[in-house]
Each structure stands twice: as structure tokens, then as C-alpha cells.
Symmetry: C2
Amino acid sequence: MKLATLRTANGGTTAALATGADSYLALPAADVGALLALPEWRQVVEKTAAAQEAHQQVIAAVDADVAPLLPRAGKVICCGLNYGDHIQEMGRELPEYPTLFAKYADTLVGAADAVEVHGSGRVDWEAELAVVVGSELYRADEDQARAAIAGYTVANDVSMRDWQSRTLQWFQGKAFDATTPVGPVMLTADEAGQHFDVRGYVNGQLVQQGNTSTLVFGPAQLLSYISQFTVLRPGDLVLTGTPGGVGMGMTPPRFLKDGDVLTTEIDGIGQLENQFRIHAPAAIPANA
Amino acid sequence: MKLATLRTANGGTTAALATGADSYLALPAADVGALLALPEWRQVVEKTAAAQEAHQQVIAAVDADVAPLLPRAGKVICCGLNYGDHIQEMGRELPEYPTLFAKYADTLVGAADAVEVHGSGRVDWEAELAVVVGSELYRADEDQARAAIAGYTVANDVSMRDWQSRTLQWFQGKAFDATTPVGPVMLTADEAGQHFDVRGYVNGQLVQQGNTSTLVFGPAQLLSYISQFTVLRPGDLVLTGTPGGVGMGMTPPRFLKDGDVLTTEIDGIGQLENQFRIHAPAAIPANA
């Protein structure tokens, strides 16, 4: 099944089951994270779907305003440098440990939302498969981690390269509010194949392409590794890294311009399509 | 005034006003973060204190089990490399921008709690002044940031140097659950002086000492800078960096041993005293 978080008319959100390309059934939880936190969430979905279908309470496409999939995710942990073919084509050695960094749920934005960036002139793209945690994990092995994957979604770890390169730590270039699109749906793990094709486009032109079969650290390995030091809970999100083709790697480097449309897609899950509004860098308080 | 978060008999927590070295008055909020999120929180404290004092509902020292000051902090953002005198004595140039990284509230632990570390053999200390955010800040200047500081507390950004140095990003060495002591109280900004003496001790031996007058980026500057890219909310925490004297900088390097007691203190605020239980590194899933 495919689950989404939709914005509702009253300014809130609801978890929803996708019943077709254009229709959803509302579920009794505020978002997909809250749904996954319910014990027996699958049965909740099935019962609600049966009851709702009988009464035809389908949310029509015209009302389906897709919110960030996990607007209240407690943890959004990202892996960098994780596509083996890209690392090897750059002449680097495969890493022994995953390079991890953290962001907050405030970075997330919906699959069709406009993205507004203030104060960066080097806005770059990173198309990624993201893994949604379905049950609590702490110091778990890979089998336990695999069993705890609720499903998969599409993300773009949009990065402000000017801010990212100001210091050794990437966080400030990765943590701009409402700049990381995620969604539109989570494909549940039971319906997912083993590997995914991940692609990114700028104004319709293909710029990134990779297959998750070349990940150095796969989803279960990443979740197990992270769980050695911090607990993962239902609704937490782990981004698995991006394949080659980011703008800063081009000659000359290419960054998003005001008005550009960034499309991120994974076959079998869905597509993000976000138009960017980029405002000239503001004066930044630095060390005088 | 000094505010704390105390554990209650029913397994929860309560915000509390420190009325002496050994006594507290319970406040109508689950923790200091929830208290700061109330509009007019100062009046809530004053009214509650007046009412409670009349009825002598004082929590005696014997019951005062100090929880992490902000157990549900939405953001815990840390600054590295921020003590100018230490940077200069190392022969480095002062940074133009603050080096920032993120952690989650799960890292926090109480002022007197035992700290248990699994899987690291290089547990190091970083005594720090931490700033508690009192009102929402987004793209704020330094004056607005200064006005939004609720108060100050003591933290130790305990770091697993083996994990920290596995990759370029420090996160995994800084994000072990329940290893960052913070508290015991927040001193409100109106009663705080301009600068603080920060000290760290291992088994009673002074190992770190610094004064926040030598910070490259002071509290208001840090909050303003962070708010350029992400919103800060009441109860968020910003750690301002550590002075010289960490274990990895010693010759030979020194790390905490099982049973060691780490003490962190800031004059006028209070003291953290945490005994460490350190378990031998477990086998870590790495890239095969």
C-alpha cells in the first residue's frame, strides 16, 4: 500500500491511503508518523479503508494537498557518500563507515510545494531514496533493522553549498527550513522490490541517475548502524545518500536558479516536483 | 530565578523553581521547555510560587531527582571551535563562521545521572555553557536574538572520539543517547552576568577551564546566525563550544574510564556530576 500525509481544510493534516493516482482515503491519524506509532497500524488502515469505502468517503484529487510525508519526524538522519559506483568513478575508496549527519523535521516540505530559499546562491540537488522507520530500534542487528522498515519514500536533500562549505560540518548547508521535499507517498516495505532507480531532473533535464543496488550501506545496514548509538522510532526517516550528477560536481558547477523546477523520482514510489524561489544572499552575521 | 526539570514519583517530570540549594517549588508544566512555551511564563512562575509558598508545597531535597533540563528540546544545536584563546594557542586562525552540528534530545541526561556508554573506548569531555531559547526566532538580528534568550545552563558535550573520527561528519560521535548531561538548572537571563567561568573535572582533577568572554561567537550571535536558516523555539538549546583541556588534546590522549566521575561547573549556575559506565566496544556492522 501507499500512504501519504495530506493537508486538510482546517489547516491540519491527516494520514491517508492512496487508492489510485488521484484519490486517497483519510485515515484516523494526523500524519503517517502518527499512524505508524499506532500498534497494529496495518489493521487500522484496512478497517478504516473497508468502512470508508462503504460510505464513499474518498478524498478527490482536487482536495489532495500533499504535506511533507513525516511533518513531525523526531529524527531525520542522512547518509552521505553512499553510492559505490559514483565513489569509485571519482577514484575514491569505498568507506568503512557511513558518513552521517542530522537534520530536523523543519527542513521537510511537501512533494509539490514551492521551496523558498533565503540567503544562498548555491542551491544544489541530491535525489535520494529515504527509509521510513516502522518500529522502535535500539542496538539492533541487520535482520531486526530490516524487519523494522515500514517503507520507502522519495526525498531530495537540497543543499546550500555556500553554507555547507563554510566550515567542516555540513549541517548548516543542509538544515534550511522547508527545503527538503519528501513524499508524495510511502510505499510499504512488503510491496517494495529490493532495489530502486533514483532520478533527478532540473527543468525536465535528467541530471542524476542511480540504482540503490550500488549503495555501499543499504537501508537495513544503515538503520542497524544508527541504532547502535541512538534509538529510532516509528516515523523517523533515514536518507540513503545521492548518486552522481549533483550540480557542484559539474564543469562549470551548476546551481538552481530562481524559478527552476526540481523533479525527483523513484520508479514504483512516486515523484517530487518543486519549484524554487531563490532570494539573493542576505548579509550574514559573521565574526567581525 | 533558577528553573529545573524534576522527575516525579509517577514516572513523569515537572518544571520547578529552585528556592534554595536543596528545595524546589513544582510549576504547572511538564518541563522547563513546556514552561517556556507558555505565554507569560514568568507570571505563571510568580503566581504559582506565591500560591504554593502559602501552602508550603515545597519539594524537599530528598525528592528532587533532577531530569535533563529540556528532555523534549526540539533542537539541540552545538558550536565547535569557539574559544578564541584556545584556537589561538593552537596556532589556528579565528573562524569566519561558526562550526555547527545538530543533536537530538535523546542525547540529553540529568545533572546527577549515571551515563552509560556502549561501544566506545574513547569517551571524552567538553564542558560548555548552553543557551536556552525563550521565544521564537527566525531570521533574527543579534538584538532580537539577545532578547529571546531565556537563560543559561551547564552542559557537557561528551564525545565518542572513535566514532567522531570515523568519517568527516562529527554527528555519530556526538549523538549517543543519554550521554550529554545538561542542567541542573537554567539561570534566567535577567539574573545572569555577561560572562561565565566554565570548568570541567575528572575525578575531582581540574582538566578544563575557560571564560565565555573569549568566545568567538557569543550567545546572541550564535542564535542570530542559526536563525538565518532554521527557526528556534522556546526550549531549544544551543551549546556554545568548549575551552581547551579535552582529553584527546592531551599527551598522551586521555579518555574516561569505567567508573570515572565527570564534573562540569559554571559559577552562578550550578554543577553536573556524572559517573560513567563504559562498556567495551561491541562489534560494529561496517562495510564488508
